[in-house]
């Protein structure tokens, strides 16, 4: 028994080690490579160049902004929808969940061509103006974010007794907006944050839609451009975007930890 346990512990460490290597080796070599911008010495020159590039900040800022509006849009779309499905249309849940998965199945290139076809002619002329194009990009990203947002919010709703809370609030005199903003949203904080960070990470690195709709204004196409022209800077950009993504992940973990701690305290 004890022997078997020891053995299984050994093997789980072994596989974890292999997995970590698989994951971390390319990263290390990319990092090392990014330090070689100066001949024969290791330096952060490539990083300095990236941070000194106006276009890095401009595109990053643009994509951050798009990410923000995408998150706002998807929260306003997904939370009331998922709530209503839980409350009144539980039979539709499976179907809606499937629909929100479609962005995983349909290639982004197909989606973006479809969008351009529909929204560049009558009666919508969104692609004729910059604002219109940005709106279209945000809308497209809302669709892209659906799988993350819906799953996350739906799981959050599953963790609270939606129906009883709603009815308790109703019997106390609350209207629908009050119920949504005072009762449902506050209890979904962690779930929404989880979905929001995943959405942000996706939007910031997204290439296909951004390059067709707004081109080099967005961070994804910028990264790709750097990758084609500047070898060392490309590697440093990879590391930077990797760190950014992981700090978002870390933030999610942080918020989730806070939540599960209090849940543990409540389990008596």
């Amino acid at each position: 028994m004890v022997e078997a346990m020891k053995r299984s512990v050994f093997w789980s460490w072994f596989w974890m080690f292999i997995g970590t290597l698989y994951f971390i080796l390319p990263l290390i070599s990319t990092f090392l490579f990014s330090l070689r911008a100066k001949k024969d010495v290791l330096s952060f020159l490539a990083y300095e160049r990236i941070f000194a590039d106006v276009n890095f900040w401009r595109t990053f800022g643009f994509s951050l902004m798009v990410g923000f509006f995408t998150i706002l849009g998807s929260i306003l779309l997904v939370v009331p929808t998922a709530y209503w499905i839980r409350l009144r249309l539980p039979k539709l849940r499976g179907m809606i969940e499937f629909l929100t998965m479609l962005p995983f199945v349909i290639p982004a290139i197909v989606l973006v061509f479809g969008l351009i076809r529909v929204f560049s002619g009558a009666p919508f002329f969104l692609t004729n103006t910059y604002t219109g194009t940005n709106v279209l990009l945000v809308a497209a990203y809302v669709v892209l974010a659906l799988p993350y947002m819906f799953r996350s919010v739906d799981a959050g709703l599953g963790a609270i007794d939606v129906r009883s809370l709603t009815e308790a609030a109703q019997s106390l005199g609350a209207s629908w907006p009050t119920i949504l903003f005072k009762v449902i949203f506050p209890n979904l904080r962690v779930a929404i944050l989880g979905g929001a960070f995943l959405t942000l990470a996706t939007v910031i690195g997204e290439f296909t839609m951004a390059s067709f709709l707004v081109g080099i204004k967005a961070f994804g196409p910028y990264m790709s451009l750097i990758g084609q022209n500047k070898t060392y800077e490309a590697s440093s950009l990879t590391i930077i975007s990797f760190l950014l993504t992981w700090s978002f992940m870390g933030l999610i973990q942080l918020f989730n930890r806070g939540k599960s701690d209090s849940a543990l305290a409540g389990a008596h």
């Binding site: 308790a168 109703q170 019997s171 609350a174 209207s175 209890n187 209090s262 305290a265």
Partner: protein, 349 residues
């Protein structure tokens, strides 16, 4: 007209009749229980009073106002759920004050009310705690305070104690009754627990399969059940096959013996008439003026205040409850005994 009036209310869920022709007049300040087995339509009826379900037909009138189709958030009706349903993101004080806050009551008034409610449920020290920091019993008391803080016209409780331990359950039900009487609030209490219904209520509505079986005070329901369902659902009931029933004179034959029964209320005899009698009506030995019958003891259970026996009388096993006495000699299994019971305690069903 009474304070709350439910007339001819029915509810059909896609072909399933959940509630059928429900009629009830409730006086102001009355404590009414809906009692019945799971699935008999208690919750559905309560939810129609709260406004969460619309009746298929019939109407609900509260304080002279027809509220049948009124939105639940405009009814000013307090509701307490089995699952407590406290808002997890709010403290105890915020939960209790929620209804008043929604009504845009001034902050100082809310504070006063919350304080008063906290005093009523003896949780003054827990005002700033979150629901997950409280025990189930405490949470349900907060839920009660939250429902009462809006000064509702009716208080509705749907199996509020079902999720709690037996001991807390008894404590809290006395608490609920105390608060209800103190505030004089009209209350409807849904339960499947007969003890709860009997101990709390001014009147009980016994329900079965969507319809009302009987309405009456706890004593009426227990002592004068009008249907076999009520008789056997509330308390224990022995049903002994009898023959040669003479309703006019109140006599029949039980196991060959002549037995007299209560025939003051008009009854109909079914094709298989049976004599109904509660276990606690029996005594051992021979007493003048009482029915006497012979039996054989098959099971003896000493429960403390009560000794529960199973006695074979002819073909059937009968439950007999004797009150314990300090000097009592317990009967033994196999004993041949004479049991007697008063004629007024049994009736024909």
């Amino acid at each position: 007209m009474s304070y709350l009036s439910i007339s001819n209310v029915s509810k059909v869920f896609g072909g399933v009749v959940a509630v059928e022709d429900f009629n009830l007049e409730v006086e102001k300040g009355e404590f009414i229980s809906f009692l019945g087995p799971s699935g008999c339509g208690k919750t559905t009826t309560l939810r129609m009073i709260a406004g969460f379900e619309l009746p298929t037909s019939g109407e609900v009138v509260l304080d002279g106002e027809n509220i049948t189709y009124k939105a639940p958030n405009e009814r000013n009706v307090g509701m307490v759920f089995q699952s407590y349903a406290l808002f997890p993101n709010m403290t105890v004080a915020q939960n209790i004050g929620f209804g008043l806050q929604v009504r845009k009551t001034p902050a100082d008034e809310i504070q006063t009310m919350v304080k008063e409610m906290l005093g009523l449920i003896h949780l003054e020290k827990h005002a700033e705690k979150y629901p997950y920091q409280l025990s189930g019993g405490q949470q349900q008391r907060v839920a009660l305070a939250r429902a009462l803080a809006i000064n509702p016209r009716v208080l509705l409780l749907d199996e509020p104690l079902s999720a709690l331990d037996a001991k807390i359950r008894v404590e809290l039900r006395q608490e609920i009754r105390r608060i209800q009487q103190k505030m004089g609030i009209t209350t409807i209490y849904v339960t499947h627990d007969q003890e709860e219904a009997l101990s709390l209520s001014d009147r009980i509505v016994v329900m079965s399969q969507g319809h009302m079986e009987q309405v009456g005070t706890p004593a009426e329901i227990y002592n004068r059940p009008t249907t076999e369902f009520v008789a056997s659902f509330v308390g224990q009931l022995n049903l002994l096959p009898v023959s040669e029933v003479d309703l006019k004179n109140g006599v029949c034959k039980l196991n060959g013996q002549l037995v007299r029964f209560d025939h003051s209320e008009p009854r109909q005899i079914s094709d298989k008439p049976r004599l109904a009698i509660r276990p606690e009506e029996f005594q051992f030995g021979q007493t003048e003026g009482r029915n006497l019958i012979q039996g054989r003891v098959e099971v003896v259970m000493f429960l403390g205040a009560v000794v529960r026996l199973r006695v074979r009388i002819g073909e059937v096993l009968v439950s007999v409850d004797l009150f314990n006495e300090r000097n009592m000699t317990l009967p033994r299994v196999g004993d041949e005994v004479m049991v007697n019971f008063p004629p007024h305690a049994c009736w024909i069903m």
